[in-house]
């Protein structure tokens, strides 16, 4: 979906076209869900937050002034949902873990190592202070430029840049053994 197509869908959705909005959900579900999932570390909770984000965005869509800034606007709503959800539901650690199906497919050793590496990566991200986590995930998952990260988080571009750099510095240092294969 090109930027022009997105703008067109947003205009149609603003006038109440549910099909257009569904197309936008299809386009942005994964980025929003992925970002919230990275922040919360809880797939189910992230799913709830993503749903709320899209419902709220639908309700507030007529107030969106610039259709071109839909993505940043949507992530701002997602951020608000995350902050609100965190306040009311925190701490959530382990709540959904009980029902979570455990997938234990027998597979090659490489898969197991990858799974372990992913787990270590997620843990390291979760250990970052929240401001760094939020900015870094927007920058990587959504490939947002610093200006957009700053708009979503309501901070200056300089602060956004600093937070991303700091997050990368810490992660690269903490995950050094994982990211740098041992020399032969």
């Amino acid at each position: 979906m090109t930027a022009d197509e997105v703008s067109n869908w947003v205009r149609l959705a603003q006038s109440g076209d549910r099909a257009a909005y569904s197309a936008l959900i299809g386009r942005y579900w994964q980025p929003v869900h992925g970002w919230l999932s990275g922040l919360s570390g809880d797939e189910h909770w992230a799913e709830d937050l993503t749903q709320n984000t899209f419902v709220r965005a639908w309700q507030a869509l007529p107030s969106l002034d610039s259709v071109e800034s839909f993505r940043v606007w949507l992530f701002r709503i997602a951020r608000n949902e995350w902050l609100t959800g965190k306040r009311t539901k925190f701490p959530r650690t382990g709540i959904h873990k009980i029902d979570e199906p455990v997938v234990c497919k027998p597979g090659p050793l490489g898969d197991a190592i990858d799974r372990e590496a992913d787990g270590a990566l997620r843990d390291a991200i979760r250990r970052l202070a929240e401001p760094y986590q939020v900015a870094y995930l927007l920058w990587t998952h959504e490939a947002m430029p610093y200006s957009a990260v700053a708009s979503v988080l309501d901070i200056s571009e300089e602060t956004a840049r600093w937070r991303v750099c700091e997050a990368r510095r810490r992660l690269a240092s903490e995950l050094k053994p994982l990211l740098e294969p041992p020399s032969p």
């Binding site: 205009r11 959705a13 603003q14 006038s15 109440g16 909005y21 569904s22 299809g26 579900w29 994964q30 980025p31 869900h33 992925g34 999932s37 990275g38 797939e43 992230a46 799913e47 749903q51 899209f54 419902v55 639908w58 309700q59 507030a60 007529p62 002034d65 610039s66 259709v67 608000n80 902050l83 609100t84 965190k86 306040r87 925190f90 590496a117 992913d118 990566l121 997620r122 991200i125 202070a129 929240e130 401001p131 760094y132 870094y136 995930l137 990587t140 998952h141 490939a143 840049r161 991303v164 750099c165 700091e166 990368r168 510095r169 992660l171 690269a172 995950l175 050094k176 990211l179 740098e180």
Partner: protein
Amino acid sequence: MMCHDAIPWLLATRAEEALSAELSAHLSACPACGALRRRLAGLDERVRATARPPVPASLSRLSRSLEASPRPRPPARPLGSPSRSGRVKDRRKTAAVSIAAAVLVAAGWFSGRYGGGSRPEASRTVPAGPQTVRVEPFSVRMSGRISELSYSPSKPERLDVLKAIADMVRSEAVRLATSGLTEDASRLLGIHQMLLGPGLAAQIAALPAPERSAVAKRIARSLRGDEASLLTAEERMPEAVVAALKPFRDSVAVTADNLEGNPAAKPAVAVPGSGQLEALTLLAVRLAETDAPLQRADLSADLANALAAMTVLLAVGPDGDAVDKLSEYLEAVLTRGVGENLLRAAAHDPDGKSNASIESIRMKSDRSIELLDRNAAVADPQVRKGLERAAQVSRAGGGRWNADRKGPPAAGRPIWNRPEGSWIPPGQGGIPPGQQKKS
């Protein structure tokens, strides 16, 4: 190019972005920076790969939620037309009219509040079913929390109280702003920043490392919750109100950022304006940071005098309840803030080296009751009643600790606070000016 120049560039750029010739040359010559670049590229790639695919069940639930939610109203303007500035102007006009109306309605109530104290503030009544609930004036509620600081011995407990006071200030700002009194709300910003910066962040930074981390984490989490609440509330507020409250949210976010990022860093010094509430805030911050009993007693004596002055101010108005409440706080500050801390200081000073300071603090605290008595003597009958009651309650506080103490002799204390039998007859000195009756 050196490593310390190259590293910030590497951290700020994506792996796929083109690098300057200078940086590329450095990378090819420096194995450490080359390795960092590879690590960063691997990191971003792995993070992107952890994104989850959509969950079909969720999407169907979402569709149901959308079906149930109201259909958005189409925009009143033609889609895509550049009419934002016009809409902003309209909103501003509407906000200005509503603010003006609200100011006219509430001007009487607030004119004495932050405008120099020419009129006393009054408590509000809020309907609550068949009964009504009295809401104490903000300054009285704030005084109540500040008095707690005078007698809370543990620092983490005092930091929690400071946080609660900051919350209270912010809530008041929200209430004022949503009532159209955005300017009054903004006047609370200095107080709010003082409580969060030198009050919370600076004192957390001064805690010993193991304790600091836990306290910083707890307070930062609570501040994040506050930030979220403000954000949610802002969605329903007019633009002018959001603009007035944004600095409050910013200071909450900055404090949380600092506590999460580097709780050992000391924040910039905030200097609040001069005024009754500002003076109380400074006392609150100093009471929260000070551990030495003698200093705490001294600050409590200052607080007692400030509360007495506020009691006199409020007594002129129709709000008897507020005066009674302040008297209770004053009594607690005298008994526990001044009294207990002086007893503690005396207990740690078997040689009596601090006797002179103890006596001086005791005299200072007695001035609060003197102030009430002096004003009661010249006040209208109705006001006098409230002030006399306040003085009586406060005197009980002063007297209680005097009875417990084992410090220096009572000589030099104002007459109403001296033990029975040691009174000096009128005309022979010791009677404060306001108490002397003209014959």
